[in-house]
Amino acid sequence: MTPAIEVRRVHKRFGALHALDGVDLEIDTGEFFALLGPNGAGKTTLINIIAGLTLASSGSVRVMGHDVMADYREARRILGVVPQELVFDPFFTVRETLVFQSGYYGLKKNGDWIDEIIHHLDLADKANTNMRSLSGGMKRRVLVAQALVHKPPVVVLDEPTAGVDVEMRQGLWHFVKQLNRNGHTIVLTTHYLEEAEALCNRVAMLKKGRIVALDSIRNLIHGLSGSLVRLRLSPDTLPTALQPLVSSCEEGYYILAIREYAQLEMVMMALRVAQTQVLDLQVMQQGLEEVFVKITGSTESPRSIAASA
């Protein structure tokens, strides 16, 4: 089967900056795929090259088998892109914006579908409002509507939930999940790792223009193996035997990393021998965030960057 998106040895240089350093990537039809990486890793550059907004220095990109350069009209018809920046044309209303956008794709009588996406994205009250008067969240929804106006089989969302409130974020993901169920391939970049973990089948992690991990989320987390045990003790001292297991400490809690549950037995034994009482105990699976930190070597996870931004 033809992959939805096929990226082959793509390099991109902006002057001295090597923004993409030989990226190879294949995304299958129907996948829910995430591109993760710290700021400046090259996620948006890669998406822009797929969308034809940026030209690669070398390498090739195909969308459903159509080269984004040689066969750009077909490739662009297949793609729907939600850009990261909140851009809009201040001359027009929401409906005008959508009618023009569908016209660009050669669609003349698209009113029914436009009504449907306006309804799904909760824009009905604002359909005849000028774009200038919309709130940020509303503008974001119009961007999503614009990307879907030509019913593209492949939808690319570049940080669609950055700066969006929780309620709207959930509404948006509900909508995107539904699109995926209806057969659309979804590619997104996000700063919120728990979103990628909850939604996506596969992720690619980018670092300094290279793909440093590319796998299903299950495999990535499994590859990290083991769990974390969070302990609160009385007295508040960890027996010497357990010191090598310490992964971190926080506010009276010790966090130990264990490879398998059987090790828990050993931990309990050591505590009993030391006559230490367990006040609280939690066993946690390692998540995508730990994988991310481990693989990209970034001390700051994207989530905390987003939170501080």
């Binding site: 920046e85 044309d89 016209g103 050669g106």
Partner: protein, 251 residues
């Protein structure tokens, strides 16, 4: 065709929605020019025999406003979209670069024609202006506005800031139109400046346009049309190349 027609429609609607500024204002300022210059100069300047200075001035002012507005239309539309970033909606779509070129040039032509017609109609209420050949008038209006519309595309893409565009307008477009014989016939100039005027493409637009009204011109209208057609082809080729290679807009 739908994609192209949509872009054209959008571009027309864009200036139509702010018509007070894009149509009414240039019509008004041209009428002010006419009022002031005809009052100040009609005693001193003699252009064509049997034609009063005021009447001589009208076609020049009409075509000058048309050229300036054709340039302003494509250039300001493009710079507004590139600065605000909303040009990506056009770039993400399957619109070809030829369609983008044609839509922007045609929108410029229409804006130029609307402004020109506005000035012409208003002046008709006050002055009696002969019209020798509508075909010549229309041909020069069309080629002139198309040429400036294409130049406006290049300028709108090249300029990264509004100041750069304003500089182009104030230091290139405005002097070239003013020095092209709008206010005088170049036969009244010393030979050196006459020769220099022949290097200004805007001179041929104005001279040919005026020929359509008075059946008199400084050079043959066929020659003017030929030179302008060649200029348009060269600029169109350049503009299409810029759009095709994605210069500045697809980095």
């Amino acid at each position: 065709m739908t994609g192209f027609l949509t872009l054209l429609h959008k571009e027309l609607l864009r200036f139509w929605k702010v018509g007070f500024q894009t149509i009414f204002a240039p019509v008004l300022s041209s009428l002010l020019y006419l009022l002031i210059f005809s009052h100040a100069l009609s005693e001193h300047v003699h252009a064509y025999p049997g034609v009063t200075y005021t009447v001589f001035l009208i076609p020049g002012l009409v075509i000058m406003a048309m050229l300036q507005n054709a340039f302003a239309n494509s250039s300001s539309s493009l710079i507004q979209s590139t600065v605000s970033g909303n040009h990506i909606f056009m770039l993400l779509s399957p619109l070809s670069y030829q369609e983008i070129f044609t839509a922007y040039v045609l929108a410029s032509v229409v804006r130029g024609l609307v402004v020109g017609l506005g000035i012409y109609v208003v002046t008709l209420g006050f002055f009696e202006l002969p019209l020798y050949s509508f075909a010549w008038v229309f041909a020069f209006a069309l080629i002139g506005t198309a040429l400036l519309g294409a130049l406006g595309i290049i300028a709108g893409i090249w300029a990264e800031k509004f100041e750069q565009l304003a500089a182009l307008q104030n230091f290139i477009i405005l002097p070239l139109t003013f020095l092209s014989g709008v206010f005088y016939t170049i036969h009244s100039l010393p030979p050196f400046w006459q020769g220099l005027s022949h290097l200004n493409p805007f001179f041929y637009v104005i001279d040919g346009f005026r020929y359509g009204f008075f059946r008199t011109s400084d050079v043959s209208p066929y020659l003017s049309l030929g030179i302008l057609a060649a200029c348009f082809l060269a600029i169109a080729w350049w503009t299409l190349r810029i759009l095709k290679t994605g210069y500045k807009i697809r980095k």
